[in-house]
């Protein structure tokens, strides 16, 4: 399943950088690119006045038409005391989808992938159950059944890591994957892991958030897409949304209505991440949308 992405027909370089604010940063980064014949497509910056930090996303077509300038720009940005990551959109990152039994985010992402909504290649599907295997096969995507036995979790994670390595995975999406990944796994996988949590975090972290919401009598339910970290449901938030509910809604209704939120919030976060629009800074994100 290959990626198409209409708004970006030709390949470009995209840099995300941040560091201590200083005069002239916008002029110097754009000047560096212009001076080498690059054509800037987008340049978006943000200044955290309180912390004195400068953030920038800059996208350009280099004069030579290839990704070779990435390393040079990184070196230049570091000389300005910036942390930086520059990617070449001509390379399509392989993505792994982790699922369990709940199918709605899985089906929604597949349908979007077929429509070309994501810059990335859906390389493989990993699941601790076989429920979605036939669907994966129908779509022609490799499916790996990796059961997770509580007492032998490390073994399962070893198997998962080896699958990720085999496919060169650059992003893991937890599409309602009902297992907590260990800190070891998150370090070893060497790439971003995006999770969808079915509440408006930090409210109702942990298990069964719709039951928690029902019990508290809230008038809105939410969904949160965030980067997975060692602390459960506490990673940097990428996107959130809510919808109104009322006393007529049973827990089952919250589950059903929440599915629509989970699908759109997760898809939006994945889309932004794959467009290299999300910069993590401390436990927060800057999203250049």
């Amino acid at each position: 399943m290959n990626a198409k992405d209409a708004p970006n027909p030709s390949a470009s370089l995209v840099a995300l950088l941040h560091g201590p604010d200083q005069p002239g940063l916008v002029a110097r980064t754009s000047g560096w690119i212009y001076g080498r014949g690059g054509n800037i497509l987008h340049a978006d910056q943000h200044r955290d006045d309180e912390a004195g930090v400068f953030f920038q996303r800059i996208e350009w077509i280099p004069a030579n038409g290839g990704g070779a300038d990435a390393a040079s720009f990184d070196a230049f940005a570091r000389s300005l005391d910036m942390a930086v990551e520059t990617v070449w959109t001509g390379e399509v990152p392989p993505v792994a989808l982790f699922v369990s039994k709940v199918p709605h985010c899985f089906h929604d992402l597949l349908a979007r992938w077929r429509l070309g909504e994501f810059r990335g290649k859906l390389a493989c599907i990993v699941s601790n159950h076989r429920d979605l295997e036939a669907d994966a096969e129908y779509h022609g995507i490799p499916f790996y059944h990796v059961p997770v036995d509580r007492s032998r979790k490390a073994e399962a994670e070893e198997r998962q890591l080896s699958i990720l390595r085999e496919h060169g995975v650059r992003l893991v999406i937890l599409a309602r994957y009902m297992q907590v990944l260990s800190e070891d796994f998150l370090e070893a996988c060497g790439c971003a892991v995006i999770n969808i949590h079915h509440s408006f975090l930090p409210a109702f972290a942990g298990a069964r958030p719709y039951h928690q919401a029902y019990s508290r009598g809230v008038k809105l339910i939410g969904a949160t897409a965030h980067y997975a970290t060692a602390v459960l449901d506490d990673g940097p938030i990428i996107q959130q949304d809510t919808i109104h509910v009322n006393h007529r809604h049973s827990v089952g209704d919250l589950v059903r209505r929440g599915r629509d939120l989970e699908k759109s919030v997760l898809a939006q976060a994945v889309r932004w991440h794959l467009q290299h629009r999300v910069l993590v800074y401390g436990n927060k994100t800057v999203v250049f949308d």
Copy 2:
């Protein structure tokens, strides 16, 4: 400042009842009213299937054109094992507004009152500061300055209670009143107290919720109108809403943007309460909107 409310030109009886579900409740309550010549304007019911509880709001114009049937209906509903409260909309309940220095909810409520959005009479304004006194006077509403000294809080609350009694207040609105009311006060005041909290509860309860939200990096801020109870920010929720924020918003921006939420959420909760649409059940509400 007197109330007008366009959708209810003539006075009616409104009953809120709930109790163990049993067959025939809809038929029996409507039959009772019809049998006495009453004209039912609205009848809305809800059944909590899990708990086996029946809830109803029923509004009717009695044959005799007065509020005398309220007590008879209450007796009838109790004979069905229902908890019930019936009000006569011909009586306009006096309302007290508690404020501190922050003016936006205060101004918004005043402007809405002048437009007749609420069924109720704005009887008095109580504040621990004098900042809004001139505005209250301009609008012709009695203003009481009751400073709250931490060491003599009980004394201040005594003064507040006496003001409420003097005006026969049936509802207290805490319009960004920056003091916690004691459990004693809440019991003694003998009427509902509606508070507006500037977060999507249960997230960010307590002090400085916008600072908490900023620090956590959420992508939505919220506001919650709820009945005040002895446990801070934990009472039954009446209404909530959220809006999107992003990394460009400083804490000051969250404060500013949150004001719009606080105003509309509080006004909606007050409006519903004064229309006798909110039934408290455990720590939750059923809102017949």
Copy 3:
């Protein structure tokens, strides 16, 4: 593909009625049901004060546990001068999906059907193209390719009508079906036809609404689910929604972002219709949600 619908495990009768308002209607309909041993699950009514019309949706489990009371209730309601339609939820209505090439609403509805979100049986798929045939087959739903040649449209509609008759279809969903159905077809099909239009009607009726929206520079795009009538994009509206857009969004972005709206708005309208919650009145709808 069979329907499951968690909130309504046991079958019930659902009546939608409306007619001239008169005292005692709530008491009389509920009394009729109670008098025959029926157990009312929901009763929701609305009064159009201006037009003097009473509307009601009432759902009950009859004493005999079957659908036989439907005709009796209809006769009773007609004796009250009401137009009425009562259905027995024990019968699962067959539904036809009309599609062309655009797949998102099609995939979304299929995924929801598999999750049991709709009270209805997806009986067949009709398309003027073959693009979605393989997907239909994978899901085990009969697929009919009925090409529509402009000069022989009546012939194609004859073929479509015969498919609907063969499956006993009670609802047609136009899931981005890119052909206008004739007035003759709409009369002959003998059932409701729900269409999704990709704008906030009445703005941008007709062809290419996202191009129209882009050209006008609106800051919101919308979607509208409505019953198809002889006048294009003018039938009774069931549901609508909007999302914000800005100058950064190309027409392609509007198309992509609008898909999420179209999916959720259409699904909601279908769900309500199949729960017998939508009462058409003139060119408007009363939705008992």
Copy 4:
């Protein structure tokens, strides 16, 4: 009533420019500013790929700490074939509010002005009625009663123009002003005129939009803030929003609920305009928010 605006404590230059796209524009504008010792606070650009047009908003603190560089930057931008307008935020633009009898936008804007939400000075209030005169006086803002007699409209507009000239007004806000301004007035006033229309334009342009919406049976109502042009309700749109309504809402309810939309949409548009964030391009706007 003077303006405060927390996020911009010290004065800056803000340029809005647009013109044919060409390589190096970001580098050249930022380089020009940096080369003169300016400190860029924000730089936001947009490229209309289809039309080949470049748009930019750039805000900076000039080295000399005054507004003198505005003219030099304008000359420079024009040398790049750009249309440009640069303002010095140290100058506070006088604003006129036009009102009739409907008070909600008027009261809302006054309350926001007192909270410092707008960069601008509320210089005067002009009305064809006296209803809001007392409120204007209480807030200490000059109030001009200019009755508009249909047969002598030109005379009234002459009077209005002379008031605008007297106060050096740079922005006119039509806060539910119930008169159409002539093309002559719009040309002669020499400044932007922002209107709030109580529908989601282009739906329901013209008179009584809530009645139109009710009659059509839409499930959302909206509000639109736009620049007034010679064609009624057809000018460039700055901001829009919608809320859900249902069959229970009478026209009176739409009017009441729409007020909340009108207030927030108008205030947002005014805020953006006064922050020099709105660039008009053809009949559309680019809003650098």
